[in-house]
Amino acid sequence: MSSHREAPEIAQDPVADSTDVYAFVSPDRPDTVTLIANYVPLQEPAGGPNFYEFGDDVLYSINIDNDGDGKADIRYDFRFTTEVRNPNTFLYNTGPILSLDSPNWNRRQFYTVTRRVSGGQDQVLGTRIPSPPCNIGPLSTPNYVNLANAAIRDLGGGRRVFCGQRNEGFYVDLGAVFDLLNPRPFADLHIKFGLPSAPKSGPGVNATKDLNVHTIALQVPISDLTKDGWTGTNVSDPRATIGVWTAASRKRVRMFDFDLSNTWSTGPFRQVSRLAMPLLNEVVIPMGQKDFWNTQAPDGDARFSKYLRKPEVAQLLPVLFPGVFPRLDVLNKSGKDRTDIVAILHTGIPAGLIPGFQNFTGPVEADMMRLNTAIRPSATPNINGLLGGDLAGFPNGRRVFDDVVAIELKALAGVTYALVDKTFTPDAAAAQLDDGVTPSSLRIPFLNRFPYLGTPLDGFNTPAR
């Protein structure tokens, strides 16, 4: 998945598991950028009585680098606090929840947002901001859209925030991808290992169709993020591009105190999860490095560069699909570095490769989602982003609907290598490589307004479908 359960340790810690990052110039407020960080993956909507929530003991951060050194210049911190009205019932709610201050809602969560500037003063943007409840069902949350809308809060200065449950917008055919990299549309071409039961080709299946996720969404003026508050329209200006990543941190010590029948944590926070570009830690970084990768800051990512220069997926494709990727096979065997993948994932794409576009942040290799804020939102967005000729889409930031799985599969298959080596002609199959799911594979549509991710599925109806 993008980064759901992507590393052994964080797979055991869902509330701290960064699953997706989105960063885009807001289509309905193009003077702002929307930043979205998702956590708590693969939520089955009926998962009560202890429904999903953020971790009170987790520090959630959205980091911004605006000078290309891979270090955070601006950071938005989110800390959550859970309050229980009545500990003497097992119920999440004792009647319909019709408002965020409903006395029927037994287990509520509030949060604080703090803006931190490197070398500057911390600015608390909001305190005791309520998260909405999870979407439980028609008796408990009969007007869920109203509850969610009430949880969108103005922070002043053109900023707004939402933290709470959303429908999972990351569409992907997990079952096929992780069954030995076998996208269903390509299944007939996949090696069969001599098995008579090997799957036949068919349409993709969205594995996340009936699942929810928890979202931290922040919309802020572009000037809040760029170096010196730059808000120009010159795409080539180095100040136009920001790098975004999220992190989750836990205190270094946790005590399971049997005498006091509780747990407590203490000491400084240390990062346990991070995320920027989708699928990087998932399918590029090897298993033995994934947990370590999650603890590191982006400015040291040069140490992982070798995995991008010889990406394992690119090596596997000619093996798993015999005869389908002959040119990729030759490229692999040439030993040449995949500098296209390094550019996409670690440095940004320099000027001169794609007309009218760059999101290069300099030579420092760092996993950041690079967004050129001078590029306006597209009036006719293409889910294939840059590969589809849409300069406002992935990997120029990431919009909620961008088909990041297909884009990265195509890139790893060699489509983007032609950008850095004009003599290279990609295999015909490379441009077709796809897991076969699109936003039409979602059960809940995206919103055309903040927070853009759709209304979460409710627990009563979802299993009944």
């Binding site: 205190k251 270094r252 010590v253 005590m255 105190d257 944590s265 203490t266 000491g267 400084p268």
Partner: protein, 96 residues
């Protein structure tokens, strides 16, 4: 540094072996109170006795302790106390 009285208080607290190190946990009042107070007097004052403090004996030969409290980590060195804890860890049967 830790005096004998503090060490005896500490020795009555639970000790858990974790790999090569020794982790000890308890409310304020055990190890290296002076150093903690200097680092953050509000956190470890007598008026606030329940702030969790975790002490990790990181390295027995050098006597280096990590002391965790609040959002802070401080290092304390006490070779004699480290040796005493190591002796406890090797001579007493762990509680199940």
């Amino acid at each position: 540094m830790v005096d004998a009285q503090q060490a005896s208080v500490f020795s009555r607290r639970k000790a858990i072996l974790t790999g090569a190190g020794l982790v000890a946990a308890g409310a304020v009042g055990g190890l290296a109170t002076a150093e903690l107070a200097a680092a953050n007097p509000q956190l470890v004052s007598a008026e606030n006795p329940t702030v969790p403090v975790m002490v990790h004996l990181r390295d027995v030969p050098t006597g280096k302790f990590d002391v965790f409290f609040g959002d802070t980590l401080v290092s304390v060195v006490d070779i004699n106390f480290a040796a005493k804890l190591a002796e406890v860890a090797t001579t007493i049967q762990p509680q199940s």
